[in-house]
């Protein structure tokens, strides 16, 4: 396999998935709407006190984004399994892990990026101080790809099953706890004026590890799930 063929295959994969996502723009809007609605509900449930909302804002935005991503995660491979293109991908001469990495990247661009873009709005709705918002965005920019990568492995594992929604949440919950802890830790530290670099560095380290290992694990999991 020479290099140009591999890069063009990656580019084609990315272009295909982004085009598919763009053709179904309504699906992209769903998680964003969901996140906005959940964020709107918090002041109603807890009362519109500024100090209380400020204290929980970072955590609420993080958890809301996580849940919104979970909502979209289920669909990562489902249409490709239905029309059989995933089997073709498994049979393709290109390394499966790399192709799946591209699919995960496309999925992140289509679901997590819009969520990150509206995160400042969600944070502002809960009166998070403006100075903390860049830290929140940085934490989200590191935590969401981590969740996409971990989620992709689990989605691949459940690829052969019929009802996977609840199961996916059950399996993703333990694995995403560290990401939530470090991301929320960074935001909380920034809010209190403390150094926030350490939790962000932990997140970045976890992300680097996941970028290397998760596509490989995803490929292995998919081979198990499709091996009927």
């Amino acid at each position: 396999m020479n290099r140009p063929a591999l890069t063009s295959a990656c580019a084609a994969m990315l272009r295909r998935d982004l085009t598919l996502a763009w053709r179904r723009r309504g699906d992209i809007a769903m998680p964003v709407l969901y996140a906005l609605i959940v964020t709107t509900l918090f002041p109603f449930a807890l009362g519109p006190e500024d100090t209380l909302l400020q204290r929980i804002a970072g955590g609420v935005v993080l958890v809301t984004v996580l849940l919104a991503m979970l909502l979209a995660l289920d669909a990562m491979f489902s249409s490709d399994i239905e029309d059989g293109s995933l089997e073709q991908l498994v049979l393709a001469p290109q390394p499966l892990a790399l192709m799946l990495g591209m699919k995960i990247l496309a999925h992140w661009l289509a679901t997590a990026l819009p969520l990150i873009l509206i995160a400042p709005l969600m944070a502002a709705m809960l009166h998070l101080p403006g100075a903390v918002i860049p830290v929140l965005l940085l934490a989200l920019a590191l935590a969401t790809p981590l969740l996409s990568l971990l989620g992709a492995v689990l989605v691949a594992l459940t690829a052969g099953t019929r009802r996977s929604g609840m199961l996916l949440a059950l399996m993703l919950l333990p694995l995403c706890v560290p990401a939530v802890i470090f991301a929320a830790g960074a935001v909380a530290a920034a809010q209190q004026g403390l150094p926030w670099l350490a939790p962000v560095a932990w997140l970045a380290a976890a992300l680097v590890l996941a970028v290397v290992l998760a596509p490989l694990a995803c490929a292995a999991a998919l081979r198990i799930a499709l091996d009927a």
Binding site: L154, S164, L167, L170, M171, P174, I224, A228
Partner: protein, 252 residues
């Protein structure tokens, strides 16, 4: 080195041999678990002296600590069996891994419940978001995830392989549970019983604790044998050896 040990292990991997082996092992393990459990609990709940600070409430450790050790031990066994199942595709390893999961989940649940029963009078709260407690809760979710994934597939062997993969991913949590009291400053106390070096517990309390621990180990073996036998009969239901067993049972 005689060659009968590896040969015996290879034979044990075949379902009918394991079925017979587990059948002979299971009553012994059950008897030992019952005996050691009764002796250990009598020693712990009656003979051992009360704690100078906690009074009689500390006695819950004779259930709590062995269960906690078992929760990690069973996850470890499940992880190793999962690895064997995925790499060498041994059917028995799949059975062992998948039948360990419910037992491990039960022990993890007992650990959490007894811990919170003890926490109410001692810490003044049923639950706190402490590193040890949280990681043990995550362990329970991992067990439940493995069980759920296993049952989500139509094909049992495929489900076992997928769940085995999840079990291997989740094994990263076991060292976190074990070292959480050293890595973080937690409300949960550090380790008192040490394999290497002297334990910080009185001998009168240590022997019942270790006896109950042994009892839980034997209970696990007994329970696993029983579950694996049932599972093997179900999994191999079309095979000759199962039909022969069924005919024997029907003839009785």
């Amino acid at each position: 080195m005689s060659s009968w040990i590896p040969l015996w292990l290879h034979k044990l991997g075949s379902p009918p041999t394991f079925y017979r082996f587990a059948g002979t092992l299971q009553p012994w393990a059950t008897a030992l678990a019952l005996l050691l459990g009764v002796v250990g609990l009598y020693g712990g709940l009656v003979l051992a002296p009360a704690d100078y600070q906690q009074g009689d409430a500390y006695r819950i450790i004779f259930i709590h600590v062995p269960s906690a050790w078992m929760s990690m031990f069973i996850y470890g066994v499940m992880g190793v069996a999962s690895f064997i199942a995925l790499v060498w595709r041994i059917k028995l390893a799949e059975v062992v891994a998948m039948e360990s999961a419910p037992i491990g989940a039960a022990f993890t649940f007992i650990t959490l419940v007894t811990g919170s029963l003890w926490g109410k009078p001692m810490w003044g709260t049923w639950w706190t978001w402490d590193a040890r407690l949280t990681s043990e809760l995550v362990l329970l979710f991992l067990f439940l995830g493995v069980i759920g994934l296993y049952h989500a597939f139509e094909d049992r062997r495929q489900g076992a392989r997928a769940a085995a993969f999840l079990a291997i991913i989740g094994i990263i949590n076991v060292p976190i549970v074990h070292f959480s009291v050293n890595w973080w400053n937690t409300l949960h106390q550090g380790s008192t019983v040490n394999v290497f070096g002297p334990s910080k517990i009185s001998g009168a309390m240590l022997w019942p604790l270790l006896t109950v621990t042994l009892a839980t180990k034997f209970y696990y073996v007994a329970s696993l044998c029983r579950r694996a036998r049932t599972d093997l009969l179900d999994l191999e239901s079309g095979k000759d050896w199962v039909r022969r067993i069924a005919e024997d049972e029907a003839g009785r």
